[in-house]
Subunit: 164 residues, 2 copies
Amino acid sequence: MEPVDPIDARLLQALGEEPRATVVALAERLGLARNTVQARLTRLEARGVLGSFDRRIEPAALGHPLRAYVTTRVEQRRLAEVTTALARIPEVVEVVGLAGDDDLLVQVVARDADALYSIAGSLLAVPGVERTSTALVMRQLVPFRLDPLLARRANSDDTSTRPG
Amino acid sequence: MEPVDPIDARLLQALGEEPRATVVALAERLGLARNTVQARLTRLEARGVLGSFDRRIEPAALGHPLRAYVTTRVEQRRLAEVTTALARIPEVVEVVGLAGDDDLLVQVVARDADALYSIAGSLLAVPGVERTSTALVMRQLVPFRLDPLLARRANSDDTSTRPG
DNA sequence: GACGAGGTTGAGCACTATGGTCGCCGTAGC
DNA sequence: GCTACGGCGACCATAGTGCTCAACCTCGTC
């Protein structure tokens, strides 16, 4: 994916501070023409820079305040099959494939400890899953954020990938 | 956090399908009065149901296509100090405290493998950090999603927490 | 140096949405 | 029976939208 340029970064920063800001408000704030902001927003969406809206929703607000990471080892050749089965479990909110000892990292949410226990059971019951290890999230110490990276990109002078 | 009611869930579902939908469009779609939708949206934001806008931004679009989970063990009594230090590293996008052998799970993003390597070094260099283990995310098999839970809540008949 | 592609700009257009307030009404709880 | 709350529909003035246009400017290419 092509990285965004500094102007887009500033746009995203502004949106971060005021997600419901209107296009004209953003244009004023950034010192750009309304037209430009509108065009750039459209392009950002089209390029897939913005992920699904779901990512902004707090699972706790859906009655699932518990969050856990389940590291999972699977029979390698049944990986696709396992992925499909995991996707069918509503409480599984994300699955990523890892490099290393564990094959999958499964992020799950649950209503309470009891529910979490049975979800962990559901994971183990999936054919192809060999071993799981559940790590409960007790506290979010640094909430998800991208502003430091946004700020860096907004302040870079050119449009190419610069610092580390 | 108080869970949302089925109407709010349907509202969030609709937003998920069309994040930039106007209030009137949402009202039409849900068969509600515009006034109601507006009031509910305001309440949703006020209640903190919606997290930061950053969560929708794809780190790859910021020039950081690599993502890794770093499990970290720290000197327990220096936890706060360590958290602060980690928060100062731009590539650290989230830190959660875990129950179990590992104390922290640190989500980092990086420009390339080289950058990732030096970020891992930065983590280890934080005073109080005893041991780290980096797991590179190779593929997102199930992208983050909440729609199954939203759908369940949207279809439940009452406003209290129901099924598991 | 001329060329075209692509992005930015300001203007203008008809249409629509916004945020605010109002009174009315049904439901749930006391 | 009363109150609190949420939904409703209506109204208003203001503001934003999505769109098109022609005029730039700055690249990189030929």
